[in-house]
């Protein structure tokens, strides 16, 4: 399915871009599976998603759990825990 991915903080720096449009294979149905697929791409993606660091996800600007089911056209964001305030 087609997804718009968004990255923040060190993840954005590590991957080298803030957003990208992807077309995922059929076996990517959940946030967790998307993360695994991104890691498998290697390069900046492999490094960023391969780190032993906490990453959170949001779909269409709302926090979701790892087993959240994705839909075609979703905006999926990955980022480390928040540090505002």
């Amino acid at each position: 399915m087609k997804l718009n991915l968004v990255y923040f903080a060190w993840l954005k720096q590590s991957i080298g871009m803030g957003s990208e449009a992807v077309d995922t294979p059929a076996n990517v149905a959940t946030v967790n599976q998307l993360r695994d697929w991104l890691r498998s791409k290697g390069g900046g993606h492999g490094e960023a998603f391969g780190k032993d660091a906490v990453l959170r996800a949001a779909v269409n600007k709302a926090i979701v759990s790892d087993d959240h089911a994705l839909q075609d056209g979703d905006e999926v964001a990955f980022f480390p825990p928040f540090t505002g305030g």
Binding site: F8, V54, A58, K61, P81, F82, T83, G84, G85
Partner: protein
Amino acid sequence: MIRVQAEDFDVGAELAALGRGNKKIGAVTSFVGLVRDLSDGSDVAAMTLEHYPGMTEAALRDIEAEARQRWQLEDVLIVHRHGKLEPGDRIVLVAVASSHRGMAFDACHFLIDWLKTKAPFWKLEATSQGERWVEAKSDDDQAAARWAKK
């Protein structure tokens, strides 16, 4: 009301506007967060606040709604800046107007504790040892957990 902006804010003007003319208000509490020149032992020369436009506003609106549901508040304001800041610069203003001080203190403290863990902001510090992304603090998780519903 919530606002996300690059510009500084005028605390006096913001507090004066809070519930202006509402004479049921007996207490106004506020919190201002500022950039410190020292963080985890390193000198901080500058701090850049990144955020997630759209999600940030939604998260702050949710946080305000949660506070208004928990306490009887006459007015609520959250203003959070993004972009490049220097030590001494204001980062965030949280203010609450209520009839009595107990509620106003609790709600204000709640708002900033929740904001820290629930609003999509990330701090990049420029220190004498180079740039680094601030890591989330367990203290902040614990502060937010205090307000979890039993």
